[in-house]
């Protein structure tokens, strides 16, 4: 019998697991994908929002504000790639300036360090901007983060402290069972005293399994371009357009913690949360917006596109509560933006709600708030490089030449507390294949190392989910 089963190991589920790891509980995490952080957590803008956007009084507002403070601390403690970065909401017109002033007032009310910049100030703050920009909202309470590393790091700490992670377990039903619940998955059942619903885009589906039909998932997709580091170096801020009347924050231009540039997302309804394809018309639209903000972006340096679907519902706020239909289920639903920013605070809130619902939280004596260190060869200086190679010669063999990722880092990644099973999962752990050649040179070698370390055949290695096998057999068969 589990004390808590967390459904979903995106950044929200991982934050809950991280929070619960400090208590003497038996925790299980069921995740439908082959790796953690694979839903909205891997396909978003990777921004820790300063908190000027949500209106005072919303559920999300205090969680956003506390989430970014906790997130900064967690990133430092668990060595997650994180970079404080100013952000701008730019105005092209007087009407936009009205929006900027509204956001400014909201920022002040939320205690965010905001300023309104005039034309001269905004161009001084971000010289790459279109000369037509007349002003902006400015804040330096914002940051950029590696979102999948953030989630993975928290999940790793949870696992190291005893949480059991079940990947590729898709929840198909929840059965009430006296004083407990049984979470039914396609690969086995889990009896538990409490359930935390952190199922992202599927949170509304999970709620319905206990008869709670308040929410309907609305699938708004966002597509992005990723550009080469040469482009990332052109901007020194997260650049937002003015939000539209529907509250959509608008297309943004931002560097990533790795130095690339991202441009996106749109916000358009799609058929399902699994609709992750891109389309030419949308990409053209995003490109036009990006160029309107920063005319010097060279789209010949695009290296990839991606798309994500937001966990939005009919409620325009987070829905965080003990389910009115089932006192043993905590909902963390409708976790769209600022879901990433708020995650750590949502994790805390989930623990409080569990306690309120009757779960005893006794501190775990052996709790260790740390995870194995990560060697990032590319960011070491000559001395650091010498030192790590001396310790392990595999750090001297570069496998991914674009991102300077060594065999040592790949082997480390595969043997971390949560083992990646696919090429994409390895890529998310150590960046092998994330550069300009997109794995053209290194993917056969990473493939070989992954098969070797997992002790499986080359044919059994997948790119991502389902039957995404990379090779179909041997030649001459």
């Amino acid at each position: 019998m589990y004390d808590v089963i967390i459904i979903g190991c995106g950044v929200t589920g991982a934050a809950v697991a991280y929070q619960l790891a400090r208590y003497d509980l038996r925790v299980g995490i069921v995740e439908r994908f082959s790796d953690v952080a694979c839903g909205a957590t891997k396909a978003n803008s990777a921004i820790m929002h300063a908190g000027y956007d949500p209106a005072p009084g919303k559920v999300m507002t205090p969680l956003n504000l506390r989430g970014i403070r906790l997130g900064k601390e967690i990133a430092r403690k668990l060595d997650v790639e994180y970079r404080p970065l100013q952000s701008l909401v730019i105005a092209f017109s007087e009407r936009d300036m009205e929006t900027v002033r509204t956001l400014y007032e909201r920022g002040l009310a939320n205690g965010v360090n905001v300023k309104i910049l005039d034309r001269e100030q905004v161009h001084a703050a971000e010289p790459s901007l279109n000369p037509d920009v007349i002003g902006a909202l400015w804040t330096d309470d914002s940051a950029i983060i590696n979102p999948w590393e953030y989630a993975t790091a928290m999940a790793e700490v949870a696992v190291l402290n005893g949480a059991e992670l079940f990947l590729e377990h898709k929840v198909t039903g929840i059965v009430r069972d006296g004083d407990a619940l049984t979470v039914v998955t396609d690969r086995g059942e889990f009896r538990t005293r409490y359930v935390v619903n952190a199922a992202g885009c599927h949170a509304a589906d999970i709620m319905r399994m206990v008869g709670d039909d308040r929410l309907t998932q609305t699938n708004f997709q966002g597509q992005y371009f990723v550009l080469d580091k040469a482009e990332g170096a052109k901007v020194n801020s997260v650049i937002f357009g003015c939000p539209d009347e529907k509250g959509f924050k608008g297309i943004l231009v931002s560097p990533t913690v790795h130095g690339n540039l991202i441009v996106g997302p749109n916000s358009d309804p799609v058929a399902s949360a699994e609709t992750l394809g891109t389309d030419a018309a949308t990409l053209d639209r995003i490109k036009a917006s990006g160029l309107r903000y920063v005319p010097s972006i060279n789209f010949r340096n695009v290296i990839r596109q991606y798309a994500g679907v937001r966990p939005t519902t009919n409620v325009k706020d987070f829905v965080i509560d003990v389910s009115p239909a089932c006192g043993r289920m905590i909902n963390l639903a409708s976790m769209a933006s600022p879901g990433l920013s708020a995650a750590a605070a949502v994790g805390e809130r989930a623990a409080e709600l569990l306690a309120g619902a009757g779960l005893e939280l006794r501190p775990r004596a052996s709790f260790s708030d740390s995870r194995p260190p990560v060697v990032r060869f590319a960011s070491l200086d000559a001395e650091g490089r010498r030192a790590v190679i001396e310790k392990n010669p595999l750090y001297g063999r570069i496998i991914c030449r674009c991102e300077t990722v060594t065999e040592g880092e790949i082997v480390d990644a595969i043997n971390r507390p949560i083992r990646p099973r696919t090429l994409d999962a390895v890529k998310r752990r150590c960046r092998a294949g994330m550069g300009r050649c997109q794995g053209g040179f290194c993917s056969p070698r990473v493939h070989e190392i992954l098969a070797r370390e997992l002790g499986v055949k080359m044919e059994d290695i997948r790119l991502t989910e389902e039957d995404s096998f990379i090779i179909t057999g041997k030649t001459k068969e």
Binding site: G396, T404, E466, S468, I471, T475
Partner: protein, 428 residues
């Protein structure tokens, strides 16, 4: 200036592919006392090792060899020189100033180290353009890979990468892979090319597509990819006009694999890192007639400078670069007039981009590619209003590198710059 404890070589060659091997042989022949070749892969030979088809060496060896044979011959030549070769070693950066060049590299065996060099020859080759770079929309499943990556899986590792294949782009690697996959029992359903003409060698169109009845869709592109269970299920193909898809012309091909052969990009990260001037048209360093870059003592040759059609021409260029590097290391410096070479009408780029007539010997070789297929044409070399030379061609194609040889005496009259242009008189 030689740093204490830093091992010094007369010539350091970065990359042990066809360019690097030839540059090393040539540097030794020219008298370089110490030469080091640094190769990142486990063996030398570069991309030739996976090019198991024949057709290499017709110009240089006057016989038809496979890629591994061609590479093997040069590896053997290098073994017979005093050049040292280190493999499984990656160069991390090059620091080049007027009087000092330092190369830092790492390997599992010897860790991190730096070498000083009298001259450096850049031979890093090129990489393939990816799906992301050309932004093919649609799902992002397994089964979409560049032709070169597929070639490695099939020819080096011995794995099949799919059974029903569509190839985007008619570059040479794509064409070669069409034949290769067919011979391995896969069905190649189509080769789809954006341009109204192929960018590959004509002999490859005939021998790799036509001989196997593989349809070539010119002026078409892939406008969508769908996935099923994580693997490619189909592609949408559309007719294009001036590169833009024409709505209403779409058709679907059910397949499990998409191979991309949509262009090669010189790999100049080290070059950029060293602050060496890059030509926007070639994506390679700007070079003089002897393949020296605009940074003294750093030379470059092969696909890192511009993408070649035949390896034989890589060899010839590398021989030139290796020899010049050896001479530079021995103290030779070229002074005097510099002529800029510009690409005019119909010319995508030129290599070299600068010629020093005093160092060109009896004649200067200029390589370029034209921007479209052409029938009977005249290549003109002019300087201002003055006509310097002209060369006739029966036909020209973007898939083939052009070479002209301009006698030095004619360059003497050029004032500051010359322009190479093409005028077509007949139909393609």
């Amino acid at each position: 200036m030689r740093g204490a404890g830093v091992k010094h070589y007369d010539v350091i060659v970065i990359g042990g592919g066809p360019a690097g091997l030839a540059a090393a042989v040539s540097a030794c022949d020219k008298g370089a006392g110490s030469v080091l070749v640094i190769e990142r892969d486990r063996v030398v030979g570069g991309i030739l090792n996976q090019c198991i088809h024949n057709g290499f060496g017709l110009h240089y060896f006057k016989e038809e060899l496979t890629g591994p044979e061609y590479a093997g011959r040069f590896a053997e030549m290098v073994r017979n020189t005093r050049a040292e070769v280190v493999t499984d070693t990656m160069v991390l950066d090059i620091r080049a100033s007027a009087d000092e060049r330092v190369v830092s590299c790492i390997s599992a065996e010897e860790g991190y180290r730096e070498y000083g060099a009298g001259a450096v020859v850049l031979c890093m080759g090129c990489r393939e353009r990816t799906r992301g770079a050309i932004a093919i929309p649609g799902d992002r499943p397994a089964g979409v890979l560049t032709a070169g990556t597929a070639q490695r899986y099939v020819n080096i590792e011995g794995y099949m990468i799919g059974r029903r294949i569509v190839i985007l782009g008619s570059g040479d690697i794509g064409l070669i892979m069409a034949r290769r996959m067919t011979l391995e029992g896969a069905k190649v359903l189509a080769c789809v090319e954006l341009c109204p003409y192929s960018n590959g060698l004509n002999r490859n169109i005939v021998q790799c597509l036509n001989d196997y009845g593989i349809p070539l869709y010119l002026a078409h592109t892939i406008t969508g990819i769908t996935a099923e269970n994580g693997r490619v299920a189909s592609v949408t193909v559309s007719k294009v006009d001036g590169g833009r898809p024409i709505p209403g012309t779409e058709f679907t091909i059910d397949c499990d694999t998409v191979l991309l052969s949509v262009g090669l990009i010189p790999e100049n990260e080290l070059t950029r890192g060293a602050g060496i001037e890059i030509d926007r048209r070639t994506n390679g360093p700007v070079v003089y007639e002897d393949m020296m870059t605009m940074t003294p003592g750093v030379f470059a040759c092969g696909n890192v400078v511009h993408v070649h059609d035949l390896v034989d021409f890589v060899t010839a260029e590398a021989m030139k670069a290796g020899a010049a590097a050896a001479e530079f290391a021995a103290g030779k410096r070229v002074e005097g007039e510099v002529i800029e070479v510009r690409g005019g009408d119909g010319v995508n780029y030129t290599v070299p981009q600068r010629i020093r007539p005093g160092n060109a010997g009896r004649a200067a070789e200029i390589f370029f590619r034209t921007n479209r297929p052409r029938g009977e044409s005249v290549i003109k070399v002019t300087s201002g209003d003055r006509k310097i030379a002209s060369f006739r061609r029966e036909h020209m194609a973007p898939g083939e590198m052009e070479k002209i040889i301009v006698p030095a005496v004619l360059l003497a009259g050029a004032s500051g710059s010359i322009e190479v242009s093409v005028e077509t008189t007949g139909e393609a």
